[in-house]
């Protein structure tokens, strides 16, 4: 069987599960229990009206970013960037999952978990550009945000607080994706930017393509440091053991000077 056929069959079965969960009156929320690869296959065949008619909590991150962007935009539904059922679920992760999904008051100000060794923090925060900015919160995995650009599902950033996260990407790769966003105008008119903690994002094996020998910090300063808006680096979003759950599309304020993100509107009601 040619590869194209299993992709089509796989798409159909994955779509069936998604649509079945949103249609099913016994189901109150839908969790993607794994990211990995493949969400983009189904974007053009999702029934966005079905999801809008049956609004439910939709939770996931990483590859699931593609679905968040698409559902947020085309079903006009707040979805949740947060841990999958196989994540490590530390106390911090559990606390913010409860706040985001179970409580109807806004999450309020969030920052990284307390450090046991202040001199060598496990989750260091760094202000790349100081300042305070407000806007709707949007964002997700940088690779998926970059790869959905030019499609009907691409991210809208104007006037928004944009967060980006990734894992196991070398600085040249992060540079390439951030440059893609910059050239596409995604930083024009953005209110503020958060670059999350990025584990294993250091230069590794030499490849002909990795001609940028810079660190991740240098790449971020070079691209995000030139923006005229507040920029914070290191928030525990996405691929970290301690992980925030963030509602996409709600009002938020980034204080890049203090290193906090205030979620001012609940994602659930």
């Amino acid at each position: 069987m040619p590869v194209s056929e299993w992709v089509i069959i796989s798409i159909t079965e994955r779509l069936d599960d998604l649509h079945a969960m949103f249609s099913d009156n016994e189901v109150d929320a839908v969790f993607a229990i794994r990211g990995g690869y493949g969400s983009m296959h189904i974007l053009d065949r999702i029934d966005y009206d079905l999801i809008r008619r049956n609004p439910k909590i939709f939770l996931g991150y990483s590859d699931i970013t593609a679905m968040h962007l698409a559902i947020n935009k085309h079903s006009k539904l707040v979805t949740f960037h947060g841990p999958i059922s196989l994540s490590r679920f530390t106390d911090y992760t559990q606390k913010y999952l409860r706040k985001a999904l179970f409580e109807t008051q806004p999450i309020g100000a969030v920052t990284n978990p307390p450090e046991s060794n202040e001199l060598r923090p496990a989750h260091p925060l760094r202000t790349i550009r100081s300042g305070v900015a407000s806007g709707q919160l949007i964002g997700g995995n940088l690779t998926l945000i970059s790869n959905t650009m030019g499609t009907p599902y691409e991210i809208e950033t104007r006037g928004k607080i944009l967060f980006l996260e990734d894992v196991d990407e070398e600085p040249y790769s992060i540079d390439r994706m951030l440059t893609h966003l910059r050239l596409a105008g995604k930083f024009d008119g953005v209110a503020g930017v958060i670059f999350g903690e990025c584990q294993d994002c250091r230069p590794k094996d030499y490849k002909p393509s990795s001609t940028i020998p810079y660190s991740l910090g240098e790449v971020l300063d070079n691209i995000l440091g030139n923006l005229k808006v507040p920029v914070l680096y290191g928030l525990t979003i996405g691929h970290t053991d301690d992980q925030l759950t963030l509602p996409l599309g709600v009002a938020a304020t980034l204080d890049a000077t203090k290193g906090t993100l205030e979620i001012k509107e609940a994602g659930v009601n």
Partner: protein
């Protein structure tokens, strides 16, 4: 003429939207009228799906179940969530 008509049309739309602003609730204005789903409560059912990579390992599925139960929730597994990619070949052939 066309330009002016277009200008007048957009002007009146502009006026209409300005007049409409006070009628929007603050929450709707802040969130650009996005729908908000209902909060979870203990005893609610969560549908688990794998829209990207599959999860076929029973121990990983058990871990997902443990997580859902920890939050006082019930789970419903997607019909196809546990299938490996390879199963799609068999499924189609049978």
């Amino acid at each position: 003429m066309d330009d002016r008509r277009t200008f007048l049309a957009s002007f009146s739309i502009g006026m209409a939207s300005m007049l409409a602003i006070p009628r929007l609730s603050l929450a709707a204005a802040a969130s650009d009228a996005l729908l908000h789903p209902k909060a979870l409560r203990a005893g609610d059912t969560v549908g688990l799906i794998t829209p990207a990579t599959y999860v076929s390992d029973p121990d990983r599925i058990a871990l997902a179940e443990r997580t859902i139960r920890h939050f006082g929730l019930r789970m419903k597994m997607g019909k196809n969530a546990g299938k490996r990619m390879g199963d799609y070949f068999d499924h189609r052939a049978s």
